[in-house]
Amino acid sequence: MRRRLPSGWHLVLVPMSAVTVLPFVWMVLSSFMTQGELNRFPPSVWPEALDLGGYRTVLGGSDFPRWFLNSVLVSGAIVVAQLALCSMAGYAFARMRFIGSRITLVLVIATALIPFQLTVIPTFLIFNKVGLTDTLGALIVPQLSSAVGIYLMTAFFQSFPKELEEAARIDGCSRFAVFFRVVLPVAKPALAALAVITFITAWNDLFWPLVAISSEANYTVQVGLTTFQGQHKADWPAVMAGTVLTTLPVLAVFLFGQRRFVQALTGAVKG
């Protein structure tokens, strides 16, 4: 329409986007305020000076670094496991015919409808029985694979041309060799999408860690932050510093892999 002037749409788009992100901007600002600035009414909008007290409290005066490390370990293990298991399963469902393959795929996708709240009590009892509650393992094992991951990878391999694999098969490669040497290297877009979405989900999980973990040393960053806020009700700068540090990894992964993330959400990962 208009080429030279900046589009008038900015007048609509700027305030709209501001409503969504301004709270986060203020989250960062408030993490640099003093307790005095946040514990008065109305609270400050802009910090008077960059005060690092909040970060000092959360990094030096709490187990936050430990919780952060726990979250890195748990999310990292979940991402690696899902990349391996979901891509293998997706490849099998897309390319091979074997006993029960169709009904199993339908069942797997249907499990996405089962609310976690329904399964959480028995899942807790299972882990209690094998003595795994209150360990990081309890957080990893139920998420080693996911219905969404299998769905994504199956859809990706179905839309993926077969010629490459067939050539390798004719050359006498086994299914496993074909998968690991020929298929996986070209499946990078789908793997990246799966990694991004899995990391964000795993990092942000609160319900299961809240149920499964009881000792502070094994908290994930989400559980830790929640209890930290309960114990430091008046220390809002520290709480805000904690939320900033907790949000940074997912924000970084999101900004870095935004395209893949959107593709994963819309189920439209192409080669």
């Binding site: 788009l13 329904l118 439209a268």
Partner: protein, 310 residues
């Protein structure tokens, strides 16, 4: 996620291309690829599902094996005022959130579907609340909507409005939580709608423009019908999402004040892990699950009938 139908369609089409000649070796390879992932998913869903059903007929307290109490838990449910309160709170969330996320999602998606400088940045903005954890969003919003220190009341005072109870008020807390929930979730609708709008063929839109269709007519007669399947998907997804509303409550109101923000899922969690009445909690969870399935089936039937009338 949004194309389950397409997936099963190609599945059923497969045998036509390749006659079904399974060899035992194929089964071994197939299952060694698909087995591990499948076992984890089905193992952590079907077994707990059956177990939860059995639990719902007991008075289990998580620690000791429960006694069988038959249908007592389900009977108790109908006389439990907190259950009814949780039902009302969850209902309010569903009724407000689903239409809001569909309407706002589509409108924002239409606005974002244009070529202006920095559109990528605008699009990213709408997903930031969606990717932030409920803990971060809850703590941040809990402070912004705090009655005594919050920015919101600060803004009200600046505008000369009376200070509100917000998250501390039994009559306002659930509405504030719904607003916060909406803020964190509706970016998903935007993304899904945006992808669907971008699939609409340019020719159709150009033809409409040549015929002199107004913006409104284009929106109402071309865009809305074209994204219909996504509207159904988002409606179902939003329902599942809203019925599982939990995390933000933990990090803001913890169900208070006076149970005014207890949702069914939060109640299940309280029953099992705070009050140690896991059997009863399992019964509540099962009623929630059955209700969800009923609502989804009813919703899909209505959508199908509407579609048939067109």
């Amino acid at each position: 996620m949004s194309n389950v139908q397409a997936l099963s369609r190609t599945e059923t089409a497969a045998p036509k291309r390749r006659p079904d000649r399974r060899k035992p070796a194929d089964n071994v390879t197939g299952w060694s690829f698909a087995g591990p992932a499948t076992v984890v998913i089905l193992g952590f869903s079907l077994i707990p599902m059956a177990w939860a059903l059995m639990l719902s007929f007991t008075d289990s307290d998580l620690m000791t094996p429960g006694r069988n109490v038959g249908l007592d838990n389900y009977r108790a449910l109908f006389q439990d005022p907190v259950f009814y309160q949780a039902l009302r709170n969850t209902g309010l969330l569903v009724v407000l959130y689903i239409p809001a996320s569909l309407i706002a999602g589509l409108l924002v998606a239409v606005l974002l579907n244009r070529k202006v400088r920095g559109i990528g940045f605008y699009r990213a903005c709408f997903l930031v609340p969606y990717i932030a954890s409920a803990t971060s969003a809850g703590l941040l919003m809990g402070y912004i909507f705090d009655r005594d220190f919050g920015l919101m009341n600060g803004l009200f005072v600046k505008l000369g409005l009376p200070v509100q109870g917000l998250l501390s008020s039994p009559s306002q807390a659930m509405f504030v939580l719904t607003l916060i929930f909406f803020w964190t979730r509706f970016g998903f609708s935007v993304v899904i709608y945006l992808a669907a709008i971008q699939e609409i063929s340019k020719e159709v839109l150009e033809a409409a423009a040549i015929d002199g269709a107004s913006r409104w007519a284009t929106f109402w007669h071309i865009i809305v019908p074209s994204v219909r399947s996504m509207t159904i998907f988002l409606g179902v997804w939003g329902l599942i999402d809203a019925l599982q509303f939990f995390d933000l409550i933990v990090t803001t109101t913890k169900g208070g004040p006076a149970n005014s923000t207890v949702t069914i899922v939060y109640y299940v969690w309280q029953l099992a892990f705070s009050f140690f009445t896991a059997g009863y909690g399992a019964a509540v969870a099962y009623v929630l699950f059955a209700g969800t399935l009923l609502l989804i089936v009813a919703g899909l039937l209505v959508a199908r009938r509407r579609g048939a009338m067109r």
